[in-house]
Amino acid sequence: MIKVENLSKSFGSLKVLSAVNAEISKGECIAIIGPSGAGKSVFLYCLNALETPDSGSIRINGANISDKKIDINKVREKVGMVHQNFHLFSHLTVLENIILAPVKVRKMSRVAAVERACRLLATVSLVDKKHAYPDELSGGQKQRIAIVRALAMDPEILLFDEPTSALDPTMVGEVLAVIRNLAKQGFTMVIVTHEMNFAQEVAHRVLFMEEKGIYESGTPDEIFNDPKKAKTIAFIKKLKTFNYNVRSFDFDLIAMSTQADLFCGKYNIDRKRINNVNLVLEEMTTYILRHGYEKSRSPDIAIMVEYGDVDKEIMIEIAHDGKNIDPFEKISFMAGGKGSDTDDLGIFMVKKIAADVRFKNENGLNKFKIRI
C-alpha cells in the first residue's frame, strides 16, 4: 500500500533521513520508535508530502506522491493525519471542525457530513461536545476530536505523530483506547510514539529509527525482548532502566527520588520495595558525596536502576570516580552494627535491605552493584 524507496531528506546541511526503504501493506499497524531527533516525525510527514523529500520515491497505492503531476491534495484526502498538538481549528466548533474538510474538499452535503460526524463522535463518546469550541476541551478530548476529524475524510491510511506526547499523563489512556480500537478494526496505521507498552501491544511491526534511517525492524517481540543490533539494544535497555547522574554536592534529591518512584511505578513494584530503592539511592549518594570526594572537586556519580522482568529483582548500579573506599567492608568488620556515626548507620541499613552487595574498583572507577 505504501512503498518507500531510497528516501532522503536534509534540512540545510543537516541530513535527517538517508536512503530509507520501507513497505507498509494494507491493514498493517506500524509503530515507529527511536530517540528524539532520529527523523521519526519527518519520515511520517514525508508520507503525506507535508515534507518534500530531497530524493527517493514514496508510492501510495502505486502513485508516486513526489511526482509533480500528481494532485497531492487528492492523495492527502486518503491519508489521515493526527498531530502531536491536535491543531484543531480554533475558530470552529467541534462539529464544524469535523465537517469542514468533507464539505469543502470532498463536496459532501452538509447534512450527510453532520450525520456522519455525529456517528463518529459517538464512537469516541464525545457527542455532547459537538457544539463546544476546542479551547473548552481537555487535551484528551481534543485529540479524540482530531482523530475523528481525520476519520471523517474516510482515509485509507492513518498517520499518528506522537499522539499522546502533548497530553497530561491522566489523559493518555483515553486517546490510546481510541487508537487501539481503530487497530482492532484493521485500519492501516503508522504511529510514531514514545508509549512503548502501547507500541508493543498494538503494532504488528515495530520500526526502530536511528542513524538517519530505519535501524532495525521486526515484530514487537523481536524489537522489545530480543533486539539484535547494538543501538537498539542500548535503546531498549535504557527504556528498562532508570538513569540519574549526580554532578553537584547540592544535587536535587527530591527529583531523583520522584523519578525513581515513577520508574518503579511502571513495573508495579510494591511500595515497600520502592522505599527501599529510594533509601539505597539516598544513603549511597550521601555516603559517596561525604567520603568519596574532596569539597574542592565536583562529583560525578552515575546511578542506574534496572528491573528484571523475569526474576523480579531490582539491580542498582552506582559508579563514581572519587576515592576508592568500600564502606561495606568496614561495616562487616563491625558486626552487630555498632556504627559510630549516622553515615555508617545508613550503610548498615543498605546492607540489611540488599540481597547482595558487590564492590569493585576498575580503572579508577568505583562500582557498586546492589541487588534488592
Binding site: N48, L50, N73, K74, R76, E77, V79, G80, M81, H83, N85, H87, L88, F89, S90, H91, L92, T93, E96, L100, A101, K104, V105, R106, A146, R149, A150, M153
Partner: protein, 226 residues
C-alpha cells in the same frame, strides 16, 4: 433661569441663525466621505502592501517595509500638505480627493501592519492540519487563516477607524470645510465658541460610538452564523 436663557440664546445664535446647522451637516458629510473613502482605499492598499510583505520577491517586500516605516513614522498632515502643495499643486484636483488619497495612503500603512500581525498570530499548525486534510493552499488560507486573522484584527481595526475619523480633522489646512473647520468658522463668527465647540465634541463622540455599535453588531451576526 437666566442661565438657561443664556444657553438657549447661545445655541440659537450658533446653530439656527444664518442656518449654521446646515453648515455643520455639510461639514459632517465631508468628514464622513473622507473617512469612509480613505478607509476603503486604505484597506485595499493595506492588503496589497501586506501581500507584498509575504511575497517571495525580495524587492516587493523591501518596498512594502520601507513604505510602512516612512508613512507610519510621519504625521499625516505633512503627507496631506505634500500632496496638496507639491504633488497635485498644478492639477485642478478637488481638495477632498487629495485628502482621500492622503488618508488612504496613510491608513494603508497602519492597516498593512494590523493585517500582518493578525495573519502571523494564526497557528501554522492549523494550516498544516488543513493541508493534511486535503485543502489546497488557498483553500486553507480562505477557510482557516482568514477567519481567524480577521477575528484577531477586529478590535485593532475598529481602533484605526475611530482614529481615522479624528485625524481627518486636519483637512481644514488644505481649505476643506470639514466638521472641525466649520465649527471653528461658526465659533469665530459668533464670537461665542464654547457651545459650538461643545456640539462638535458631541458629534465626534457620537461617530466613535456609532463605529463601536457597527462593529459590535457585525460581531454578533458572525457569532450567530459561526
Amino acid at each position: 433661569m437666566e442661565i438657561i436663557d443664556t444657553i438657549c440664546g447661545s445655541i440659537h445664535a450658533n446653530l439656527i441663525e444664518g442656518k449654521a446647522y446646515l453648515l455643520i451637516l455639510a461639514g459632517l458629510k465631508t468628514t464622513l466621505v473622507i473617512t469612509l473613502a480613505g478607509l476603503f482605499s486604505g484597506t485595499i492598499l493595506g492588503a496589497l502592501f501586506c501581500a507584498m510583505n509575504y511575497s517571495k520577491n525580495r524587492l516587493l517586500g523591501f518596498i512594502s517595509k520601507t513604505y510602512i516605516v516612512i508613512v507610519r513614522g510621519t504625521p499625516v498632515l505633512l503627507l496631506l500638505m505634500l500632496l496638496f502643495y507639491v504633488v497635485f499643486a498644478r492639477t485642478r484636483m478637488d481638495a477632498i480627493h487629495i485628502a482621500v488619497i492622503a488618508f488612504g495612503l496613510n491608513s494603508a500603512a497602519h492597516i498593512a501592519e494590523i493585517m500582518k500581525a493578525a495573519l502571523d498570530s494564526v497557528d501554522p499548525g492549523q494550516v498544516m492540519a488543513a493541508r493534511a486534510l486535503g485543502f489546497t493552499r488557498s483553500g486553507a488560507f480562505y477557510h482557516v487563516t482568514l477567519p481567524q486573522a480577521s477575528r484577531h484584527a477586529r478590535p485593532v481595526y475598529q481602533n484605526t477607524v475611530i482614529n481615522l475619523i479624528q485625524w481627518t480633522s486636519v483637512v481644514g489646512y488644505i481649505t476643506i470645510a470639514d466638521l472641525t473647520r466649520v465649527i471653528n468658522a461658526i465659533g469665530a463668527r459668533t464670537a461665542d465658541p464654547f457651545s459650538v465647540i461643545f456640539i462638535g465634541i458631541m458629534i465626534y463622540l457620537m461617530l466613535a460610538y456609532v463605529t463601536y455599535l457597527i462593529f459590535r453588531l457585525s460581531d454578533r451576526k458572525k457569532r450567530a452564523v459561526g
